[in-house]
């Protein structure tokens, strides 16, 4: 039995289906990336999994269908990072992170001092502990995203759904955040499903990649197992003409690099 399974999931907006019969499984301790071009259904998939939008089909987490769970129960096992947080009031970073404890405390209860310590620790992990008492609105978009990541880290969830968490971050933090989630899923035996726009980041950090095209899964690849030719073919099917190559960093670690291939070059080969 898999840790998390999506079975025949279809979803859309205003009666129009964006996703058709999506099925896949994930294991605990893994990061699953969702890649696709704009409008392919990445965000819709994440929103359908956590029942933000209506859908058909089932989403089974540790033998339990999470579609029917009440918000508090759902939040206790499943955390979600939207592309942009809707928080637009004067509130401290510490208070934003403490929102992540909501599923663990009663409606009228306040976060305990122990929880506040955990929140500070989470802010420290994303490099914002020095600014814990500052106004959330005074942060840049990237820093806001880091603060929301910190809020997700304290949630104790089993499944993390991240909608392009890297989109507002600089290159350092893109890799730092993925490393943070990579360590966390191993330690907590949980699972991350993340929509990503950067395939190079996805190829480096994800155990499995779900490739979405026109609302359907075109391929599922595993960068640590699959051969480069298979992956290049699958990614070309998704993005058009691309070349996948391997390069080494200064420490000798190998990384996949996806390059956009010009159409003229492909024509010259023919």
């Amino acid at each position: 039995m898999s840790f998390f399974a999506v079975n025949n999931l279809s979803a859309g907006y205003n009666g129009r289906n964006i996703l058709n019969n999506i099925s896949f499984q994930t294991e605990n301790g893994s990061i699953v990336g969702v890649l696709g071009t704009n409008g392919s259904g990445k965000t819709t998939l994440l929103k359908a999994i956590c029942s933000i939008i209506n859908h058909t089909g089932s989403c089974i987490l540790e033998n339990k269908d999470i579609s029917s769970l009440k918000p508090k129960k759902l939040a206790s096992i499943c955390a979600y990072i939207p592309q942009r947080s809707g928080i637009d009031i004067d509130i401290s970073l510490l208070d934003v992170v403490c929102m992540g404890f909501n599923s663990r405390i009663g409606i009228f209860q306040q976060p305990t001092s122990e929880m506040k310590k955990q929140a500070l620790n989470a802010l420290n992990k994303v490099g914002l502990s020095q600014r814990a008492d500052e106004n959330y609105r005074s942060l840049s978009e990237g820093q806001k995203q880091l603060c929301i990541v910190a809020r997700t880290l304290v949630s104790n969830a089993r499944l993390f759904l991240l909608d392009e968490p890297e989109s507002a971050l600089d290159i350092n933090y893109r890799y730092k955040i993925m490393a943070l989630f990579g360590t966390m899923v191993k330690e907590q035996n949980s699972c991350v499903i993340t929509a990503l726009h950067d395939p190079n980041l996805a190829l480096q950090w994800c155990d499995r990649l779900i490739l979405l095209k026109n609302g359907e899964i075109s391929d599922i690849i595993e960068p640590k197992k699959d051969c480069i030719i298979k992956m290049e073919k699958a990614l070309s099917n998704l993005y058009g003409a691309v070349a996948l190559t391997v390069c080494k960093d200064h420490l000798g670690n190998e990384h996949y690099v996806l390059l956009n291939q010009s159409e003229e070059f492909l024509c010259s080969l023919k």
Partner: protein, 320 residues
């Protein structure tokens, strides 16, 4: 620092309360009240004391509910008016003036009008399953228009000499003619509502995120929004059914509090209430002492509120 602002505002309010008790057409002195010279004690207990209590309580209530609405709707211009409370109360009060006699019935029908309008707004909003905040605002606009139509129809049938003047005077708002007897039940409801809003403060902050985000933080968005708006409405309806419409305090008080504290913590909620009390007490003192006849209190709250609104708009433009 937030607590310091609360204490300073509390001290200013205390000073205004003392002024409010002794300023007015009929001169009062502490000695005169104690020794019961003339009708000083009677004036003190039946007129000054009740309207001073009403200005403190009414301002506090409008400040707190303004804070709640602005936070939930993430809109700095939100107030209980946007979901039809004021227009419902006006239509209710007009019906009370036309069809019943006695201030108690007018108060009761204004309360029912305000509460009924909000129930209709929330029911209409519940028909939209998208979970968007603006469905409540749009429903509020529809209910407001409907209540205004009812009010106009009632005004048309009113006797221009007596009833129409009473309706207009009620709409202008004022703290005169309020007795301690009238205040008992609304005060109890209001105090309970205020306490509940303080207890729900953390949920109010969670609702300030968008609905999908709030849901994924474990908030039953529709249910929580319904409960908090209902409690707020109950408090506002209790207040304005006694005072008539009082403009701008729900807008002014929370913004002033936030300008000082720069946050939305529970202390800022308290400060919003205290600011509301200060503004209404000040406006009421002016309303009864600025001219030979008593003026509607809304004139003074609008005099402070309108420039503040312009300031807010220019501040937002500069921010962009």
């Amino acid at each position: 620092m937030d607590k310091v602002f609360c204490i300073i505002t509390g001290v200013i309010l205390l000073a205004l309360v003392i002024c409010s008790l002794f300023i007015g057409k009929y001169p009062l002195s502490a000695e005169g009240i104690i020794t019961n010279q003339g009708i000083q004690r009677k004036v003190f207990w039946t007129l000054r004391f009740s309207r001073t209590i009403m200005s403190v309580w009414g301002g506090f209530c409008l400040g707190i509910t303004g804070f709640t609405f602005q936070t939930i709707f993430r809109n700095p211009l939100s107030s209980p008016d946007i979901i039809g409370v004021s227009s419902g109360a006006s239509a209710g009060a007009a019906a009370g003036i036309l069809f019943f006699s006695g201030s108690l019935y007018v108060t009761l029908s204004a309360f029912l009008g305000a509460f009924g309008a909000v129930i209709v707004t929330l029911l209409l909003a519940s028909l939209d399953n998208s979970g968007r905040n603006n469905s409540i605002v749009l429903s509020g606009i529809a209910v407001h228009a409907l209540a205004q139509t009812v009010l106009m129809a009632l005004k048309l049938t009113a006797d221009p000499e007596k009833e129409l003047a009473s309706i207009e005077y009620w709409i202008m708002g004022g703290l005169n003619n309020i007795s301690l007897y009238d205040m008992k039940i609304p005060a109890v409801i209001c105090i309970i509502s205020m306490l509940m809003l303080f207890m729900f403060h953390r949920q109010v902050l969670l609702l300030s995120a968008d609905s999908a985000e709030a849901k994924m933080l474990g908030v039953d968005v529709k249910k929580m929004q319904f409960i908090i708006l209902l409690i707020s409405t109950l408090a506002v309806a209790c207040t304005i059914s006694l005072t008539g419409l009082i403009s701008f305090i729900g807008l002014l008080a929370p913004h002033t509090a936030r300008l000082l504290t720069k946050n939305n913590r529970r202390t800022t909620m308290v400060l919003s209430g205290l600011m509301g009390s200060v503004i209404l007490s000040l406006a009421d003192i002016f309303a009864r002492s600025a001219a030979s006849t008593e003026l509607p209190v809304s004139i003074f709250t609008s005099l402070i509120g309108a420039p503040f609104l312009i300031y807010l708009i220019s501040r937002r433009r500069n921010a962009v």
